[in-house]
C-alpha cells in the first residue's frame, strides 16, 4: 500500500493510460422496503443502479444531481460504508468489495469522508482534540505525544487555532465546525476524500472560505476528491471532471468545461439552464422540466429521464441508453445526445 505517498505530489490527473485510484464497475446499491404486518420486503429502493466510474489520482471528480438521485449513497458505497448490492469497487488496485473487516479497516486510513452537517457529525460531548485524534487512536497510530502533535498540526493546516483543542464543538461557528470535520478526515493523511455536500449548510461568505480551503488542501496534501454536491456552480468551481447523476445512474460524465459549455445529455442541459445566475438582465432561455423525479422504487422503463425529457421519443421507453463515449473524454447515456440545445 503506497497509495498515499505525500512526498510525491501527483500531476494533474486523467492522463491516458494512468491507472485510476478508484474504479467502480457495475455497482448497485439497493435498500429493501418492508411493509405489511410480517415486515416482508415489498420493494427495493434502487438508490444506485448500475454505475461505472473511474476516479483518477489527483483529480477532483464532481458528482452532481438532485436530491434522491443516489449521489450520497454512491459516495458512501465507494467508501464501503454502505455495502453494495452488486458490482465491484477497486481502490488503488485492490478490490475492496469483499475485503475482510480487518483489512478494510486498514484500507480506511487512506479513504475518508467529510460530512455535510457539521453539527450532527461531531459528538457534542467530545473535545475537538479528541474528535480529531480519535481516528489516530482507532488505528493505533503514534504515541500519545505524537498524536497530540499531529492533531495540532492538522488544526493549523485547516485554519483552526491549535490551542482551541480543549473546547467543545458548540463553541465554534458553522464554518469552524466544518473545518473540524475536515481536520478529522485529514488527520490520517488519506489519499482519497469523499466530500459529501461539504458547503451546502454554510452561508455564502463562509462557503467561500471552506471551498478555498478544500482546494488549497488538495494541493498541499496531493489529495483526490470525490466532491458530491447539488449545486452545479460549486461543483464546476472545484472539479476537474463532473459526473451528472439521475435516478441512480450516471447520465453524463466529462471534464468540467465540456459539461458547462457543451453538455450533451438533455438532463445536464436542463440542470444548467435551471441555475439562477447572479447577473440581472442576463436572461437566458430556460428549459423548465415538467414534473418531479420519479420514485426510485419503480424507475421508468428504458431511459429513466424520458418522463421529463423534452426530446423523448418512443424508443426511449423501450431501450435503456448505455453510457457511451460521444466526444473525447465525454460519455453520455442518451439516444439523442446533443439534440437539445439552449440559446446562450
Amino acid at each position: 500500500m503506497t497509495a498515499v505517498d505525500q512526498s510525491a505530489p501527483q500531476p494533474r490527473a486523467a492522463e491516458e493510460g494512468a491507472a485510476p485510484l478508484v474504479s467502480v464497475r457495475g455497482v448497485h446499491t439497493h435498500f429493501p422496503v418492508r411493509g405489511g404486518v410480517l415486515r416482508r420486503t415489498v420493494g427495493q429502493v434502487r438508490a444506485v443502479d448500475g454505475v461505472d466510474l473511474d476516479i483518477m489520482r489527483g483529480e477532483t471528480l464532481g458528482l452532481v444531481g438532485e436530491s434522491g438521485c443516489g449521489k450520497s449513497t454512491l459516495g458512501r458505497t465507494i467508501l464501503r460504508l454502505i455495502p453494495p448490492t452488486s458490482g465491484q469497487i477497486t481502490f488503488d488496485g485492490t478490490d475492496i468489495t469483499g475485503l475482510r473487516p480487518e483489512r478494510m479497516k486498514a484500507m480506511r486510513r487512506h479513504m475518508q469522508l467529510i460530512f455535510q452537517d457539521p453539527v450532527g457529525s461531531l459528538n457534542p460531548r467530545m473535545t475537538v482534540r479528541n474528535i480529531i485524534g480519535e481516528a489516530l487512536l482507532a488505528h493505533g497510530l503514534h504515541s500519545r505525544q505524537e498524536r497530540h502533535d499531529q492533531v495540532r498540526d492538522i488544526m493549523r493546516s485547516v485554519g483552526l487555532d491549535p490551542d482551541a483543542g480543549g473546547r467543545y464543538p458548540h463553541e465554534f461557528s458553522g464554518g469552524q465546525r466544518q473545518r473540524i470535520g475536515i481536520a478529522r478526515a485529514l488527520v490520517l493523511r488519506p489519499g482519497f476524500i469523499v466530500a459529501d455536500e461539504p458547503v451546502s449548510a454554510l452561508d455564502v461568505s463562509i462557503q467561500s472560505q471552506v471551498l478555498n480551503l478544500l482546494v488549497d488542501l488538495k494541493r498541499r496534501f496531493a489529495l483526490t476528491y470525490l466532491f458530491v454536491a447539488h449545486d452545479l456552480a460549486v461543483v464546476d468551481y472545484v472539479s476537474d471532471r463532473v459526473a451528472v447523476m439521475y435516478l441512480g445512474k450516471v447520465v453524463e460524465i466529462a471534464d468540467s468545461v465540456s459539461i458547462r459549455e457543451r453538455p450533451l445529455h438533455p438532463y445536464t442541459v436542463a440542470l444548467l439552464s435551471a441555475i439562477p445566475q447572479p447577473r440581472p438582465g442576463g436572461a437566458r432561455q430556460r428549459i423548465v422540466l415538467a414534473g418531479d423525479v420519479p420514485s426510485p422504487l419503480a424507475p421508468p422503463s428504458g431511459c429513466r429521464f424520458r418522463t421529463r425529457c423534452p426530446i423523448a421519443r418512443p424508443v426511449c421507453a423501450e431501450l435503456e441508453p448505455p453510457l457511451e463515449s460521444k466526444a473525447p473524454g465525454q460519455s453520455v447515456a442518451c439516444h439523442f445526445s446533443g439534440e437539445l440545445e439552449v440559446a446562450a
Partner: protein, 335 residues
C-alpha cells in the same frame, strides 16, 4: 411609483434571559405596487424577522419597538387595532414560507386548506370555496386539480406543496405577497418551476412581492429592487441592476465576489469575507461590518453610517458620503 409598503426604522428585539437580541435594528424598506423587492442577506442578518414583523407575526419574547413604522397602503399597521389588522393580514398581505410541509396541516386535505383560506376572507359557501380552490390550483399549475384537492400534504412532492401554499396565499388577490425563502428547500429544477410560476403570476395579477432569500442568483432573476441586509440593518438598496453592477457597500461587493458562478476561472480563489457575522446580543459599535471590512478606517469603528444616497442607490458606508465609490460589479467579476 407609489409605495405600497413603507417600513421605517423597524426595530424588532427579543428579550431573553441572556440579553436583548436586536435582530432587526433600524430597517428602512419600500415595496412599490406591482414590483418585487428582494431582501438578501446571510443567516442572522434579520431578514426573516423583518418579514414576520410586517406580517405582525412576532410573538413574545419578541417585540416590535416603539418608534417603528410599517405603513401599508397609507395605514400604519402597528397602530391598527387587531380586528382591522386581521382583515389586512391574509387578504391584502399574504405570506409563504420556506418549508411547505410545516406550514400545511397534515390532517386536512390540501383542497380543504385552500378553501379555508378562501372562506376566511370572502363571503362564499363551501361549494363556492371548493370551486375557487380548484381554480387556484389550476392557476398555480397543479395537474388535474379536481382529483388533487383530495390529497393530503404528505401525498405531494415538495414542489407541489409549495404550489399549494402559493394557491392559498393568492386566494384573496393580495396586493402584497411575502415569500420567505420559498425555493430554498427545493431542488434546482423544481426551484426553476416555482420561480417561473411566481414571475408569471406577478405579471398576470400585478401582485407586489417582498421576497426574502440568501441566493444572489434568485435575486438577479426575480427582483426589480434589492435590499442587502447585514447585522439587523439594510446596508444597501437600489434597483437590482445598479446594485449588482456597481455595488456601493463593501459588504455587497464582497458577497457578490464570494459566490462561485458557472464558468468562473479556477485560477483565482474565491473572495473570502474574514470572520463571521457578529452576535445580535452585542452588535459592534460604529459600522457593523467594519470588523470584517477590508476598507474600514477609524471613523467606521466609531460612528454608525446612515444610508447615503448615491445616484439612484443608497448605501450605508462612510466611503459613500461624498458620492459613488469605485467598485467591481458582476460584469467585471464574471468576465
Amino acid at each position: 411609483m407609489t409605495a405600497l409598503l413603507d417600513v421605517k426604522n423597524l426595530r424588532t428585539h427579543f428579550h431573553t434571559t441572556s440579553g436583548v437580541y436586536r435582530a432587526v435594528d433600524g430597517v428602512d424598506l419600500t415595496v412599490h405596487a406591482g414590483r418585487t423587492l428582494c431582501v438578501v442577506g446571510e443567516s442572522g442578518s434579520g431578514k426573516s424577522v423583518t418579514a414576520l414583523s410586517v406580517m405582525g407575526l412576532i410573538d413574545a419574547p419578541g417585540q416590535v419597538q416603539p418608534g417603528s413604522e410599517i405603513v401599508f397602503d397609507g395605514r400604519d399597521l402597528l397602530r391598527l387595532p387587531e380586528r382591522q389588522l386581521r382583515s389586512i393580514r391574509g387578504r391584502d398581505i399574504t405570506m409563504i414560507f420556506q418549508e411547505p410541509m410545516t406550514s400545511l396541516d397534515p390532517v386536512y386535505t390540501v383542497g380543504y386548506q385552500i378553501a379555508e383560506a378562501v372562506r376566511a376572507h370572502n363571503d362564499v359557501d363551501r361549494k363556492g370555496a371548493t370551486e375557487r380552490a380548484i381554480e387556484l390550483m389550476r392557476l398555480v399549475g397543479i395537474p388535474s386539480p379536481e382529483r388533487r384537492i383530495h390529497d393530503y400534504p404528505h401525498q405531494m412532492s415538495g414542489g407541489m406543496r409549495q404550489r399549494v401554499m402559493i394557491a392559498a396565499a393568492l386566494s384573496c388577490d393580495p396586493k402584497l405577497l411575502i415569500a420567505d425563502e420559498p425555493t430554498t428547500a427545493l431542488d434546482v429544477t423544481i426551484q426553476a418551476q416555482i420561480l417561473e410560476l411566481m414571475k408569471d403570476l406577478r405579471d398576470r395579477l400585478g401582485t407586489a412581492i417582498l421576497m426574502i432569500t440568501h441566493d444572489l442568483g434568485v435575486v438577479a432573476e426575480m427582483a426589480d429592487d434589492v435590499a442587502v441586509m447585514y447585522a439587523g440593518k439594510v446596508v444597501e438598496t437600489g434597483s437590482v441592476t445598479d446594485v449588482f453592477n456597481r455595488p456601493q457597500h463593501p459588504y455587497t461587493e464582497a458577497l457578490l465576489q464570494s459566490v462561485p458562478v458557472l464558468g468562473m476561472s479556477k485560477e483565482h480563489p474565491l473572495r473570502v469575507i474574514q470572520g463571521m457575522v457578529p452576535s445580535p446580543l452585542n452588535w459592534p459599535t460604529g459600522c457593523r461590518f467594519a470588523p470584517r471590512c477590508t476598507e474600514a478606517f477609524d471613523r467606521c469603528r466609531e460612528e454608525l453610517p446612515p444610508l447615503f444616497t448615491v445616484d439612484d442607490q443608497r448605501s450605508a458606508c462612510w466611503l459613500c458620503e461624498t458620492g459613488a465609490r469605485g467598485s467591481a460589479g458582476v460584469e467585471e467579476i464574471y468576465r
